[in-house]
Symmetry: C2
Subunit: 346 residues, 2 copies
Amino acid sequence: MAAITALAQRSETATALIDGVLHGNRLLLARTITQVENQTAQASDLLHALYPHSGRAHIIGVTGAPGTGKSTLVTALARCYRQAGMTVGIVAIDPTSPFTGGALLGDRVRMRALAGDAGVFMRSMATRGSLGGLSKTTGDVVTVLDAAGFDRILVETVGVGQAEVEIASTAHTTLVVEAPGLGDEVQAIKAGILEIADVLVINKADRPGVDATLRALQMMLQIEGESTRLVRHHGQLLRVESPAAAGAEEQRWQVTVMKTVAAESTGVEELRAQVERHREWLVASGEMAVREQLRIANTLENIIRAELNRRILSRMPDGRMNEMVDAIRRRETDPYRAAADLLHLL
Amino acid sequence: MAAITALAQRSETATALIDGVLHGNRLLLARTITQVENQTAQASDLLHALYPHSGRAHIIGVTGAPGTGKSTLVTALARCYRQAGMTVGIVAIDPTSPFTGGALLGDRVRMRALAGDAGVFMRSMATRGSLGGLSKTTGDVVTVLDAAGFDRILVETVGVGQAEVEIASTAHTTLVVEAPGLGDEVQAIKAGILEIADVLVINKADRPGVDATLRALQMMLQIEGESTRLVRHHGQLLRVESPAAAGAEEQRWQVTVMKTVAAESTGVEELRAQVERHREWLVASGEMAVREQLRIANTLENIIRAELNRRILSRMPDGRMNEMVDAIRRRETDPYRAAADLLHLL
């Protein structure tokens, strides 16, 4: 009993965690990720030690509106990668609903299918509204999985929002998933995330309406024409021209639309092949280096922003903040003047 | 010709703009909003002058997944308010699609129905990916419309994302819009935004599946039980207990589900009445003061964050940033160490 208590209470040293991550210990990997998610005092030491071991994994973002079957697709894609002999990390970002007490449907879908396979590691991250923090934390978790040696890392978000575009800019290859019959217009178009796609996927392609959805997406692609990609940098979306884009037409990446029925694993191996083709193109065209630079720049900025926010909030005693809020409410001052005063103090 | 050229080139002084806003000049209002959106040098003077005139409008957030007919609903709601003798400002946040060259479907829906009525003012804001900036800028535009004297201000976002939750926390009353048949599960639940609703709306309620959607939402409400609200403060979502929540059951706000067919204006006047009931409850229960405090605190923090980001980015010469990015890419350092170094410099 005493031994069990001691075991439960022991917290691993940073060295033990780092060694565990680098040598395939999945329990220590999970604990490392927990520290990184919670941004513990030890977390930055862990990340500093693990970062040099990262940079090998290919990161695949999967996004799209709710109801398109993304969790099922991610699971099927992971299985295909396993069959191809690769190891897979999955980071699933689900909004947490207090209504359901934290149990997430996606988790249950994924766990059942992949349980027991040491070549797959899955981590769910609850958003719980921490907007700015999520992008940074997701990137950190990806870094840990990369260092742990996974060949492919799938990052699944519940799409249709600007935060999801930001997370997509952390991936090398981004898949945008649609499904037929989900409303009058193509969901992704309305939400403005279509531009971030390297591969478009119509899942649940056995449902009615798939031809209309396919035509709508192909029309959008024709209008778009060139293979540019919207990524985030310095808080602004930029179009990143492929270095090859100025040159021969054949060197551009063609965004195609693929059909899958993930629940039956139909079309998923073809999707995997297309992702691999994109990876090869990234390297051959020199675009990979550009995206890596943008990823790193975004990471740097996220870290700086998170730290500044932390410092600001810790230096502002609650009493002072409340006084200021009341003064503003009484219209004795305004938020702009008050903010300027606060910034002068810091 | 010379006079026309001079007219085109003249830029209004801050005084002229402020006077225009306060005295019903819609053209000068539009130009003021443009300055505020673009965060020009003059913008903070304009906001400082206008803020004391704000605080009277009731702000209504309207969010929900794409395809639920929000634009049509907002338009119909605005018309009901006009019939009730009130003036309405509408701020519509649409993702911008380079595919469609900036013309947004929502705009066309709204414009056609409301054109020519001086008692309604509509402004579309393009997201273009400026995540953090959007929340602040939206709040600023609402301040201007408030100062201009509009009784009700509708803020419409394309929902289903954490940024939208943040924007909802700037409203007094938040409507979450669902529609039947949009996928296997209630869209809003999957996206985690159900908790921010003060009123739930099933639009397109003439479509099949409405009863299933209604039952699902009512079940969620029963599980939830109490009337708490998730709002953002200090970057974290908080549950805000109504001061009355500790007391009598009758003093709590009951979140109900309303059915509308906005395209036929069915159920919209009933929705308007419910919004007004919520407003009265906010005042009577003391909750209005709490929400105002949170809105102001969020605004303060958004301004401070935006300013810090601006300062950081302006102090970092691009060359230095690129050097650092390359060093990280070569794994000579890592983003965490590099960020710490940069922060030391500042």
